[in-house]
Structures are given as C-alpha cells and as structure tokens.
Symmetry: C2
Subunit: 362 residues, 2 copies
C-alpha cells in the first residue's frame, strides 16, 4: 500500500507508517517497530518568534530523542487549518497534535480557561507548580478527555502587559466609554467597568488605534508589542497585565494517537515539552527585558503602572466574572475551586518569598 | 574481557560496556552500539526529599528515554564519596556525573559561586533566563571546562528563608555579636555586619540552637526546615533569604564521559535535566507553601520579614563582598559583570511585570 493510500484511509490519525528494518543513515539503532509521522498545527503565524520557533525546536528535539521514530511536521496557523481550528483538527484526529492556548476554546469548553490564565490568577511559576505538583494537569486531562485530547503545559508568556492606551487611566471611572480591543475574560471584566470592548483581527489593530477607532488595545509584552508598532500610535503603555498574569500555552495531542505510541516515545514528548516550556518562559523574560530597554529610548512613550485603586476595582470585577464563569457547569466549578485553593496557599508563601524578594530587589 | 577487568582498566570513566545484540526484554530496539552505565554521586542524604528523590526520577527518565542504552545508578552523599567529594569524583572521572551546588566549590573555583546564587542576586526565573537565554550556561561551561566538567542547571530551591533566630533583628546593630550558623557568601556578609559566624554540620545545628551555643541558623525553606525541627527551638522565622534568592542546583558530568556518548543520548540527558529542573522548582514551591501553613498553626512561631533598613544594610555589605570576590580572578570578574548586566536589564522589566503582579496579588 502506498503512503498516499494509507493517508486516504485514515491512517493519518496515528501517523503510523511501517518502518523498514534497515538502519537509517543518522542512527545506529535498528527499529523493529513502527515509525510514526505526526502533523502538528499551531495558532501562530509562520516564524512567529518564541512561540512558533519554540514549537519547531520542540519537534526537532522529539525527532532527535526518538532517533527519528517519531517525526513531527509543524504547520503554522493557516497553513493546514485556520489558527483557531487547532482544537477541532486535533480532537477529530485529522492531525495528531497542536500548539495553542486553552482559553481560545472557552466557547466549546468553558473550564479550559483556567488552564491558560485568569484575571488576577497565578504567574508562570505558580501555574507550573499547580500543573506539576498540584491537581492542575490532572484536571486538565479530565476536562480534555471528553474531546479526545491529551494536554500538556507547553510554554508561558510570563506576566503580560496591560496594554496600550491613548487615554490615561487614573480611576475606574476612566474606563467608562473607553473603546478597547481586549478578548477573553479580560474583555468581560472591562465590559463590566463600562468599556466598549471590540474584537479586531491582529492585522486591523494598528490602524484602528492610529485612527482613533479604538482608544486602547492589549497584546502580549514589550517584545511582541514593538513588532506590532503600537508604540508609534499610542501614548501610554500600562502594566501589569492583570488579566493575564501567566498565560500557559498548550500542547494538545489526539488521545488515540498519543496512546498508540510506545511508552518511550510518549516520554520523549512529555520530557521535551517540559524543556520547551522552560525555554519559552526564559525567552519571553529575556526578550521582553531587552525590548523594554529599546522601547524606553523612545521618549514619547510613557510606561505606567495601573494605580492601586484601579487594580482593586478590576480585581473585584474579576472575581465576579470568574464566579459567573465557574457557575456555568460542574467541571468549571471544580477546576476553579482547586485553582483558588492552590493559589491561596501559594500566596501566603510567596508573601515572604517571591514578593519579599521583588520588594528588596527593585 | 570480563566487566570486572574493564572496570579495573579504567573503563569506568565512560561507563561503556559492550552491548549484546539481543533485544532487551523491555525494549523493542536492537542496539548495535555500546550501552553505557554511569554512576552518579550527590551531596544529599539518602532519600532527601525533592533533591535526592528528584535526581532519582531524572536517572530513571534518562534510562527510559534511551531505552536502557544509558543507565545511571545514583548514590547519595557518603555512599560512594563524601557529600562534598562530588566535584573531585566527577572531575577525576572516578564517577561519570554528580548532583550538587556550584557554590560548594568556591575554594577550588571562585567563579562557581555565581552559578548557584549570590546575595541579592536573581530568583529562579531570573537564573533560568540567564542560563537558557543569556550567557549563564556558556560561562559556566567555560569555567568548568578547566576541571573536565560539563555543567547543567538542575533544579532550583526557589527563594530560601532568612533563617531561625532567637533574637529579634530590628536594625543592623542587632547583628553585632550574634552567633549564627550561615555558610558561604551570606556568612561573609554577616561577618562584616559583626556576626560571629560558625559552621556546623547539619547534625549539630538543632542542639546548638537549643542550648544557646548559637542564636540563629539558616537552612533552606519551610518544608525542609520543619524536618530539622528548628521551630521547636527558635522564636522567630525570618524571610526572605536575601543571601540565596534562587539557588540553582547543578548536574555535573565528566567531560570525557559526556563527549563519548552518542548525540541522542547527550540530548536525552540535556532534555531530562531541564524537565527535572522545572519539576524540582515546582515541588519546592508547592511543598514550602504547604509546610508554611503547618508551621503557622504553631502559634509560638513568629514569621517576620527583615525590616527594609536591615535589607538595605545587608545589600550594601553584599555588594562590597561580591566585588571583593569578583576581583579575585579574571574569570570571576567576567562572570560577575555578565550576571550583573543581565540582572540590571531584567530588573527593569520585572518592575512592571512580576513585581507589579506580586504587589497586586498579595
């Protein structure tokens, strides 16, 4: 049977092709078992730094670790499926895995949101502790199981920025009537604060900000924001990203595809994804720090911190919003309760550890 | 040639033994190449939680990833070599690898100290960013190359605690005449502050504190400190651990042993150690948070934060101490300059990201 025929007949689900018993030129290992070829789709543009490049590094690493027994071909958003088609493509098995962010799937799976980031949630270090040592990953697996998906934390953006504004935010009243592009839970919270929230595709944000169609937008952090050019059309750059204090990216794998792999290849994926996670976070930290230096050379940009009064107001509205979300279904309630319990305990320790550290260091 | 003879003739250096061409029972892969057996020594007591257990998990993972082509037999401190004999044992090639902390080797290699932690240095996230995205790991490799060692960051304790005290520290003057057990750079800084610094083996600290032979001691963080019982013989528990804000553990490998491995086995080690690093940090965070709750149920313990005045005083003395250390040799100067430059840039970003996050969260 030709490979093309295999593909047609649905073998693409596991990507399995029968391996020859001849040693490959790069490996001294003779495999008596199947070789696997996976396709991976992502939500990121081709070459998108840190995210798409990080995923490509991960795919390469898995190939090396398994000596080519599992190769993963990576497709950027739109190359095989649309950026937001990742979940469905992996869930249905039309591809074996994907890289994206769980909160994009809130419409299909409300509980997914907690696995990326929620307003006033936890930072990267806290999220990792919840996944690796708390119930975070177990709950995520439970939630995604209904969709034939196996999830893994796969990178973290670190604390994001609050966004670019052309109006100053001194009090909660300043949000009233503000036109801002901000998706997700952050948008829901700001709607409660009186913001006219708009959702614009990435390509339209710059022009809309320049022409005053919107007064503000959020994006990621200094490194990616500079590339969007927002500093040329906005006056104030606000931090911190209260709405996304530690957004975790996800690797999702089709459950049947993952389970059909030999144990050691599963472990190669699990190990490599933990490494990718650590590298991505480090890359975000280093590149954001460097970009901020560049940005502040532009004297027209004012870097501001949201006033305490504003953060308190947003925190209150965030709690309302999250409770509404949590009450939508039983699983969301369960996930939220575990998340909040873990966070409460961690917070007490962080008061005397990380917070005290940042207080004295800065 | 029998295995015993091979060992006698120095083959232990690379741990290489000729593999049979028969497939092992746990693996479907036929190896045509050598199998490798490594021995690993650590500085930790047998079963020491998070550290020794984490290392054992790492060794198991490497065995699984390589399908048994590299097995690592782990020995706790004292089982094969003394806890502080790790560096020499790996450097000389009498074992292939070890797990420890670089600052233990300050006497042999002054520049090593920066790769664990320095007073008022960086936290875990900052250290990782320096290693993975800055020059941290490159410099570490350069420094250790003279000792036939290949280093890898291999875990982080997260922010440590400042220690257990039976006298209150309100001002810098309160350090004068205080008898405290504190090793390393922290001890050097406190000596400048007038502390009578003593070094005691772990087994003698509790009794010395109980009998008033010492007034204070530092250890790690809530989880490990409780196990030492210090809360029974001290009144005040001070944070943060200004002297160790993010102590990185190390995996060290004998250079010849590492270089003699096939590329894919080297990568299995490199990937698994990054995973171990992430897991260990998460375990420290989660277990410390949990232990702190337990600890504070004991109403006799007062959890205190060093006053700002004290932290400022310690910071000044730390800068003096670090400059003295950095001026000892060219390589230390080079490492310190890179470390400080990276930290300065990261700090500006962290002001509006992590610090702002901790300010609003706590």
């Amino acid at each position: 049977m030709k490979r093309r025929d295999l593909l047609k007949q649905g073998a693409v689900l596991t990507g399995a092709v029968v391996a020859s018993k001849v040693a490959s030129s790069t490996s001294k290992v003779y495999a008596s078992e199947k070789k696997y070829r996976w396709r991976m789709v992502t939500s990121w543009p081709p070459g998108f730094p840190i995210l798409q490049t990080g995923v490509e590094r991960f795919a390469k690493r898995v190939g090396e670790l398994t000596q080519g027994r599992l190769t993963i071909q990576v497709y950027a958003g739109g190359e095989l499926v649309p950026p937001l088609g990742v979940f469905d493509a992996v869930s249905s098995g039309s591809v074996q895995c994907g890289h994206s962010a769980a909160y994009y799937w809130a419409g299909k799976c409300n509980a997914a949101q907690w696995f990326t980031s929620i307003p006033f949630g936890m930072d990267a270090q806290g999220m990792n502790a919840w996944f690796y040592q708390g119930n975070g990953l177990k709950l995520w697996e439970e939630v995604y199981s209904d969709f034939n998906l196996v999830p893994r934390p796969a990178g973290n953006t670190s604390v994001q920025m609050g966004g670019w504004f052309n109006k100053k935010i001194n009090t909660m009243a300043d949000f009233k009537g503000l036109k801002m592009r901000i998706p997700g839970l952050g948008g829901k919270v700001l709607t409660k604060a009186g913001v006219a929230v708009t959702l614009l595709p990435a390509g339209e944000i710059y022009t809309s900000l320049e022409r005053g169609v919107i007064d503000a937008t959020e994006w990621i952090g200094p490194y990616h924001d500079i590339r969007m050019g927002f500093h040329k059309v906005a006056k104030y750059y606000y931090g911190p990203g209260w709405h996304e204090p530690g957004s975790t990216l996800e690797l999702i794998m089709n459950k049947k595809a993952y389970e059909s792999l030999p144990k050691d290849i599963q472990l190669a994926i699990d190990t490599a994804v933990a490494e990718m996670s650590a590298y991505m976070l480090s890359e975000f930290e280093q590149k954001n720090a460097q970009a901020l230096v560049e940005l502040l050379k532009n004297k027209k940009i004012k870097l501001l911190r949201f006033p305490d009064e504003v953060l308190s107001g947003l925190k209150k509205l965030s709690e309302e919003t999250i409770n509404e979300m949590a009450n939508k279904d039983k699983m969301s309630k369960k996930v939220n309760e575990d998340f909040q319990r873990f966070k409460r305990q961690l917070v007490e320790w962080n008061k005397i550890s990380e917070k005290a550290y940042y207080d004295f260091m800065l």
